[in-house]
């Protein structure tokens, strides 16, 4: 008796399908374009195309004076603008060998950590919404609003703060502001638990994030991941501990580390960072010293000729500034930003291979990019 013959692929087209995701796609968090090569629903290869938001911030900065650049740095990572301000100001201070008063360093620490929480709030909200959990978005944006209020009281703006000056702070903190920060900390403490209740043991969430985009530690280092995405792969690296800036050397906090290096661990690491940030904010706000807020900075800022690189831990990863001064002009000769989003996004191609189209969305969310910073 003859067995019936089965023809595989006779009825369906077996060619690879190329589809274009973005640049106008709600889950690409801005203007990211990913060209996907698909085998069925599986991603064979991806080409990440960026540059749609390129404004030439590096070139512009080389034609502005040292103080005017601060507000350009706002426009890079616009969900954590104060962090970019701090990074830039510290680099120029390093170049000029200016010492920043302790009070200013404490306030910088508070602002950086508030920004980290605000940035992670935006991340957890949008990331969960991409995967289908709408509620978290509303919850997280509710708390982000409280941080924006604190920033508004500190510097008058809600998005692009221009909240730093070379040598210290533009203004002292308003009276009663530190008390409000502490109040916010006690509110936020319970809210982090709320997000976790919605997601951490949620079966759909687990199915969608566990084992998706696994990247082992050594590979993550080689491909240039930094920040929470690197720590989720088990690499202990946090610039706040390794090369302390602001007042982090006086703070007591832990670095959360993942084990699996998948989307779920990247989520867990950031959730724990919420709590550690709150710990730092409490310490810094309670221990804020009295004293001046600006160091000895000349009226005309003109750093000596030379070049330097200085990196800080932004919510996304290693935010580095490489600045060259010619010692003569009032603008930098070369201004270069090492944007963490740009370098982390590079790993997307490696991460999406072999996963489904729906996971691409989860992975873009998981590496936490801001296109303003990717393209500059």
């Amino acid at each position: 008796m003859a067995t019936p013959q089965v023809h595989h692929g006779a009825m369906f087209d077996t060619n690879e399908l190329v589809i274009n995701m973005g640049p106008q796609h709600p889950s690409t968090h801005g203007v990211l374009r990913v060209v996907l090569r698909l085998d069925g629903e599986k991603v064979v290869d991806a080409d990440v195309i960026i540059g749609y938001l390129h404004r030439g911030i590096e070139k512009l900065s080389e034609n502005r004076n040292w103080t005017q650049i601060i507000l350009l740095t706002d426009r890079m990572d616009y969900v954590a603008a104060a962090t970019s301000n701090v990074g830039y100001c510290e680099t120029v201070e390093k170049l000029m060998s200016v010492e920043v008063p302790r009070r200013a360093r404490y306030v910088r620490t508070i602002l950086c950590e508030l920004q980290r929480i605000a940035s992670h709030c935006l991340w957890v909200g949008t990331h969960a919404m991409d995967i289908g959990a709408m509620t978290v978005f509303l919850y997280a944006f509710r708390e982000r609003e409280l941080i924006l209020d604190l920033f508004e009281e500190f510097c008058g703006a809600r998005l692009t703060y221009n909240s730093m000056r070379i040598g210290g702070l533009p203004l002292d903190i308003p009276p009663g502001w530190d008390r409000k920060v502490l109040e916010f900390c006690s509110v936020m403490d319970t809210k982090v638990g709320e997000y976790e209740e919605l997601l951490t043991h949620n079966r759909i969430w687990l199915e969608r994030t566990r084992g998706i985009g696994v990247i082992p530690g050594p590979e993550a280092v080689a491909i240039g991941l930094s920040g929470p995405a690197l720590r989720a792969s088990g690499v202990v690296r946090d610039i706040r501990k390794d090369e302390p800036y602001a007042a982090y050397d006086e703070m007591d906090f832990d670095i959360p580390i993942g084990t699996a290096g998948d989307t779920y661990d990247r989520y867990l690491v950031r959730m724990e960072e919420f709590r550690q940030s709150l710990r730092i904010i409490r310490q810094a706000t309670e221990g804020i010293p009295e004293g001046p807020i600006v160091g000895k900075v000349p009226r005309l800022i003109k750093p000596p000729a030379g070049e330097t690189y200085h990196a800080i831990e932004s919510p996304k990863g290693e935010l580095g500034y490489f600045i060259v001064s010619d010692g003569k002009s009032t603008n930098p000769y070369r201004f270069r930003v090492r944007p963490p989003s740009f370098c982390n996004l590079q790993a997307l191609r490696r991460l999406v291979k072999g996963h489904l189209v729906a996971d691409v969305v989860a992975l873009i969310g998981s590496i936490d990019i801001v296109l303003g910073e990717v393209d500059r």
């Binding site: 960026i50 540059g51 390129h54 030439g56 590096e58 070139k59 512009l60 034609n63 390093k94 170049l95 060998s97 050594p218 280092v221 080689a222 491909i223 240039g224 930094s226 690499v235 690296r237 390794d242 090369e243 000729a305 030379g306 070049e307 330097t308 690189y309 990196a311 290693e318 580095g320 490489f322 060259v324 010619d326 003569k328 000769y333 070369r334 270069r336 090492r338 740009f342 370098c343 996004l345 590079q346 393209d375 500059r376």
Partner: protein, 269 residues
């Protein structure tokens, strides 16, 4: 501002060039000096095709003069001359370089052409031909172990013959130390890509290529990354204007050149 800067720039090399060719006019604008018109002429005539490369025409004639005058007065360049490179101060007496630098110098003789220490950062300057050799040593030697390439960038110093500094910022997640590796390259000189060593350098080198036109060889995917694929010119070069025609440059470069020349002439008067 632009006018002052330009006239200052063209004056200084003129004065210097007086030492080498005695008949060179000191106060003539750059480009009309008898020694230079050839170069200026060439780049101006083939400019329409090359688009933005017309922009260097105003700045470039100064370059050979400055380079020629350099050996005559290396210690004190004229104050108004464009900077020809960062100072890269050598380590002051008493500071010993970290062990991995001394072992690198021992392992690869001639691999480090200069050493610099400033503001707590160590920089090694490496001959462009030995870059890969030095980079793989830095990555693989157990006392260096630079496994994280945190940044690749470049700086443009137009008066210099080797106009680009390509800078690699390396970090070691094991020893938690940093180093900057610097390579000097001329305009079309090939620079070996370090992407095979650190995959992180892939996009970073693409950006340097996009912004400066540094000729990376052996790069797996050398395309523009931030600018449109058909863009002409390299925006981060010093002779690339801050304000430009934008789309007009691609659609009709001739119009843009006329506009620019008219503006330059108006500036001089």
């Amino acid at each position: 501002m632009g006018l002052n800067g330009d006239s200052g720039d063209s004056d200084a090399p003129g004065k210097q060039s007086q030492q080498t060719p005695p008949d060179a006019a000191a106060d003539k604008p750059a480009g009309s000096t008898p020694a230079e018109p050839l170069k200026g002429e060439v780049s101006r005539t083939d400019a329409p095709g090359a688009g933005v490369s017309a922009a260097p025409a105003t700045a470039r004639p100064a370059a050979p003069a400055a380079a020629g005058a350099k050996p005559a007065a290396p210690a004190h360049p004229a104050a108004a001359a464009p900077p020809s490179g960062p100072p890269d101060p050598p380590p002051p007496a008493g500071t010993t370089p970290p062990a991995f630098i001394t072992s690198l110098q021992a392992a690869i003789p001639g691999g480090v052409s200069a050493l610099s220490y400033w503001l707590g950062d160590w920089t090694i300057i490496v001959p462009v031909a030995r870059l890969i050799e030095v980079a793989s040593h830095l990555r693989d030697a157990p006392d260096a172990a630079f496994d994280f390439c945190s940044d690749v960038t470049a700086t443009d110093w137009p008066p210099r013959a080797e106009r680009f500094d390509v800078i690699y910022c390396l970090y070691s997640t094991r020893h938690r130390h940093r180093i900057r590796v610097k390579v000097k390259a001329a305009e079309n000189q090939p620079v070996a890509s370090v992407t095979p060593l650190w995959p992180a350098a892939n996009w970073l080198e693409r950006e340097v290529f996009d912004m400066f036109g540094v000729n990376f060889t052996g790069h797996p995917d050398r395309r523009r990354i931030l600018m449109p694929e058909d863009w002409q010119g390299y925006p981060q070069r010093k002779d690339y204007p801050l304000e430009g025609p934008g789309e007009l440059l691609m659609e009709n470069p001739l119009d843009w050149l006329k506009l620019r020349q008219a503006r330059d002439e108006a500036d001089i008067e």
